[in-house]
């Protein structure tokens, strides 16, 4: 399909606050993003002309922010509201291999929803992972270095080379990815074998170095994972905030063209995937 016909739902509820940058990222690439309030998909409290269905879109994105005030746990309320009515349409959407992206709070929502890690199921009835409070017990907000470790499964990073390091900013208080303690190693092995690990935090030399390079204490320095199909992807850092090179803190020193920032490849990859696949 043509890029201009790719409809992207940028899903929001109260407390979402990264929808504009997310919208702009897709718009700048020529796709057709739309802000969609969850109520429009649930068909409550909206006019007839505002009603939407998931089947009208080729990509779903849950942007960052502090949905529902991060009450209970970050992302838990947004996930519960989605689950209330959209579990089946969402499962169908993922089964048809349409891409779903969750950034920061969006990653927390996809985890609480049971869509990630998605090791052998599309959507698990109770969460299989958790994005817990950062080890530092603080909101960590700064540029982070991510090493791309995916071998080709994730549809959101096809335009990145393996082991390439990208600078993408992080800004979160709950980003520590955890699996059930007794199954941690088993999950990690499965994720590695399934090629589901997409990004890990590294230091400037490309080594796994823990805090502060890993801002949250995430298991095995993981910053982003995809499901077993490769079409549901969640990451804590914000690629929409480094879409252009001039958004990088050091761009005037690098002498690189201001046009492409380190986060842009996430969006070009998925737009390319949709235009080829559908």
């Amino acid at each position: 399909m043509k890029t201009k016909d790719i409809n992207v739902a940028i899903l929001r509820i109260e407390g979402t606050n990264c929808e504009q940058e997310s919208y702009d990222a897709f718009k700048r690439l020529g796709a057709n993003p739309e802000f969609v309030h969850l109520k429009q998909l649930l068909h409550i409290d909206c006019d007839k002309n505002e009603i939407r269905d998931l089947s009208q879109y080729q990509c779903l994105m849950v942007p960052g922010g502090f949905s529902a005030g991060d009450y209970i746990r970050a992302g838990a309320i947004f996930a519960a509201r989605i689950k209330s009515k959209l579990q089946t349409p969402l499962k169908n959407f993922v089964e048809q291999e349409y891409p779903v992206l969750g950034i920061c709070n969006g990653f927390q929502v996809l985890t609480e929803l049971g869509l990630l890690p998605g090791i052998d199921t599309i959507i698990s009835p109770i969460p299989d992972a958790c994005l817990n409070i950062n080890d530092s017990n603080r909101y960590e907000c700064r540029p982070t270095l991510l090493k791309h470790e995916n071998k080709g499964k994730c549809v959101f990073t096809k335009n990145l080379k393996k082991n390439e390091i990208r600078l993408i900013p992080s800004a979160h208080a709950e980003g520590k990815l955890m699996f059930p303690l007794e199954k941690q190693n088993e999950y990690l092995k499965k994720l590695e074998n399934n090629d589901q690990i997409v990004f890990r935090y590294v230091d400037p030399d490309g080594n796994y170095a823990g805090y502060p390079w890993n801002p949250n204490g995430s298991m095995s320095n993981i910053a982003g994972i995809c499901n077993h199909i490769g079409n549901v992807f969640g990451m804590m850092p914000h690629p929409e905030r480094s879409f252009y090179r001039y958004q990088h803190p050091d761009w005037t020193q690098t002498g690189l063209s201001p046009s492409e920032g380190d986060g842009q490849a996430i969006f070009t990859s998925v737009v390319d995937y949709i235009s080829k696949r559908f």
Binding site: N132, N137, M178, F179
Partner: protein
């Protein structure tokens, strides 16, 4: 019949509790050096209109599984009392 359900959510043993650790540190800075440990828990008080205690217990278990806790990191206790 009305029931009150008190749900206490704690972190599982072995899961780090940075909020608890920081609270402990701050309490000690204030001079409370006798505090040996601090753990954070969260409590929900729910008023539930239900048939009997057993049914309410079952419902609250579901609520814990589906929203109030993340079973990866949390354990919970439920205390139910009938309201008169």
């Amino acid at each position: 019949m009305m029931f009150e359900a008190k749900v206490t959510v704690r972190l599982k043993k072995g899961i780090s509790d940075p909020e608890g650790v920081n609270t402990l540190k701050a309490l000690r800075l204030l001079g409370f050096e006798n505090v040996k440990n601090a753990q954070t828990t969260r409590m929900f008080n729910l008023m539930i209109d239900g048939k009997d205690k057993k049914t309410v217990q079952k419902d609250v278990e579901q609520m814990c599984q589906r929203l109030l806790t993340n079973p990866v990191v949390h354990v919970y206790e439920i205390e139910i009392s009938e309201q008169k």
